[in-house]
Symmetry: C2
DNA sequence: ATGAAAGCGCTAACAC
DNA sequence: GTGTTAGCGCTTTCAT
């Protein structure tokens, strides 16, 4: 009975204040209908008076699972993952969960540890965006521990999880078709040499489309190994001896690098070389030229991934599905039509675009 | 004794496997030195054999506080907050905490709720980056609930917390000096009309410096109210009738908008109008022109904020301090020297920069 | 040096 | 309908 001077009211404090038992308070709080209205009222009052809030973690200690969704992702610094996280956070909350995130910084070790932490936390489910290298063991750990989970953005082979990604192949083929239609016959594909499935898919889908629709197009592929410095040198060397009419950058940092390398070498885009990027960013509309890109359907990926996860959490069985979300092709200024160029080309007029008003 | 078929070993399972009591296991696990080496060994074995990992949440249920740091921030989508979060996550882990984040989406209501959630979770401490409007009640709630906390990036009046922000005033004054020195005498300051202390500080520090060093400079101020659309129109209208020699954008989206508005109106930057931005972003080095900016010291802010928080968690008392971290002025191409321009101006050569090789 | 016992704040079974 | 009892997985006196 002695009012132990703790700063925070517990369910027992509420119970005695309301003149009922802790169990009844618990029932009221989680909305069980079998409580006498008068008592519901009394409990409500007591809660208000004591400014009581229950401890969700202690609460879920009794159940097998906490009302928490884990999200393990490679990096927080990019617009893509920031936006994805933001969507997932909202979705989780709407479903009554809290989202707890951990970023692996593209480290396989950290990915493992973070998945393990999610397991320790007894999360109800985990969404994993694997590290680029594909050698991360996150998915394997999830499988071993029989965790409920979904994979997004980057797919890992041999896992047993539902998977939601952008439809890289279709998007890449679409870019190929656009370039062909715009008259391009020599294109550079700029990617990463990591064994990244996404990059590989983008390359092969592009090539397949070219093979099918325009076999005479020549397609060069440049794969950067390490940090951006390498990429710059690689691209610089390439541009010393080659003049493709278009570059298709397969990842966002590549697009940035191409743009600045064009500047450094006084290459005019799109007059001299066109540019198409994979992965949109807000600033790509403000540059000169604004950049034509494949925009990933971030909101859809988040929604689908979360829906699948929830359904698995609720016990839905069945084979894992591999879901592809269509990308959006954003035609902007950096992709020029080669045929049209020769008709409308204005020397020395370096900045096109609509005239004032 | 009946091995209840649960999927996960508990501390009792380890105890019986090792032939000791749960209390002893607990002691071994948290490194108490008063355990017989032989038993330590037995426990270690059992842990390994059962692949035991303790539940950090259940563990901290007994203590008053969990090993969790909360971070409430306005948005995850920007490079600034993404990077800040990333730093804090690492720092928290190094100190043995997990970072749990919640993004308020600039909503005062959400800010409140998130702070309250952190309280419910019994976090050891909370870092709050308040919503722009300053009307958020997050800090007030933290104070009422006697939470341990630190404020970053945006300061709120009348709080009792340590505060760590970029030194907006010094940075802004430095920009003023640079513009003056470069010969500019008519500058537009572009900000947000929200009652945002940061923006206000940037404006007043700029004006004070001008007053002091170059009173004849005319300084216009444009404050955008709502979404970016407004900003575009506002800026457009202004540029119809005014030709400042430089624009100082006080926030990142503003910088982007200025850049694209320049393009839309065929204004050459920096030949016609110079541009300086507050808040750096990676892409600002790849644009033409690359953008001169004030870069906020994100890593330092994170370190200082975390250090202060830890010290408060450890019971350090004393008046709240308000700490300012110096910004980095990144001189790039978008700020032109007006005097030099007239000597070296090359008509029709729209892309300056160093020639190839 | 160790284990029994008593919780942390809450929920769930089961009497009443 | 409601209260009692028995934990969830762990820590922490406190005897021994």
């Amino acid at each position: 009975m002695a009012a132990k001077d703790k700063s925070r009211a517990s369910i027992h404090d509420v119970a005695s204040r309301a003149g009922v038992s802790a169990a009844t308070v618990s029932k009221v709080l989680r909305g069980t209908k079998t409580v006498k209205p008068a008592n519901v009222e009394k409990v409500r009052m007591a809660v208000k008076e004591l400014d009581y809030r229950m401890d969700p973690l202690a609460s879920s200690l009794r159940r097998a699972r906490r009302q928490i969704i884990g999200f393990v992702l490679p990096e927080l610094e990019s617009e893509f993952f920031g936006t994805l996280t933001s969507h997932l956070e909202i979705l989780a909350e709407q479903a009554g969960y809290s989202l707890v995130i951990g970023s692996s910084h593209e480290s396989e070790d950290r990915e493992r540890q973070l998945i393990e932490r999610m397991h320790d936390w007894r999360v109800a489910g985990t969404i994993l965006a694997p590290v680029r290298s594909e050698r991360g063991q996150g998915a394997a750990v999830m499988k071993n521990r029989a965790m409920v989970g979904v994979l997004v953005d980057r797919v890992v082979a041999n896992n047993n999880f539902d998977t939601v990604t952008a439809d890289n192949a279709h998007a890449s083929a679409k870019v190929a078709r656009s370039l062909i239609k715009a008259g391009h016959r020599h294109v550079l594909l700029l990617g990463l040499s990591d064994v990244s499935k996404n990059i590989r898919t983008r390359i092969s889908a592009f090539k397949e489309q070219v093979e099918k629709s325009c076999p005479e197009m020549s397609v060069d592929v440049l794969l950067a190994g390490g940090p951006m410095y390498d990429l710059r040198i690689l691209l610089g060397d390439y541009l010393e001896r080659n003049r493709p009419s278009a570059v298709f950058s397969l990842f966002q940092k590549g697009t940035m690098t191409v743009l600045s390398e064009f500047r450094r070498r006084s290459i005019n885009c799109p007059e001299d070389i066109s540019l198409v990027g994979f992965d949109d960013a807000e600033w790509m509309q403000a540059t000169y030229p604004s950049i034509t890109v494949v925009a990933q359907p971030i909101a859809q990926i988040a929604h689908q991934a979360f829906a699948r996860l929830l359904s698995r959490i609720e016990g839905h069985a069945g084979y894992p599905v591999c879901q592809l979300e269509p990308c959006d092709f954003q035609m902007r200024e950096s992709l020029a039509n080669i045929g049209a160029m020769q008709l409308s080309h204005t020397p020395n007029k370096r900045r096109g675009g609509s005239p004032p008003q």
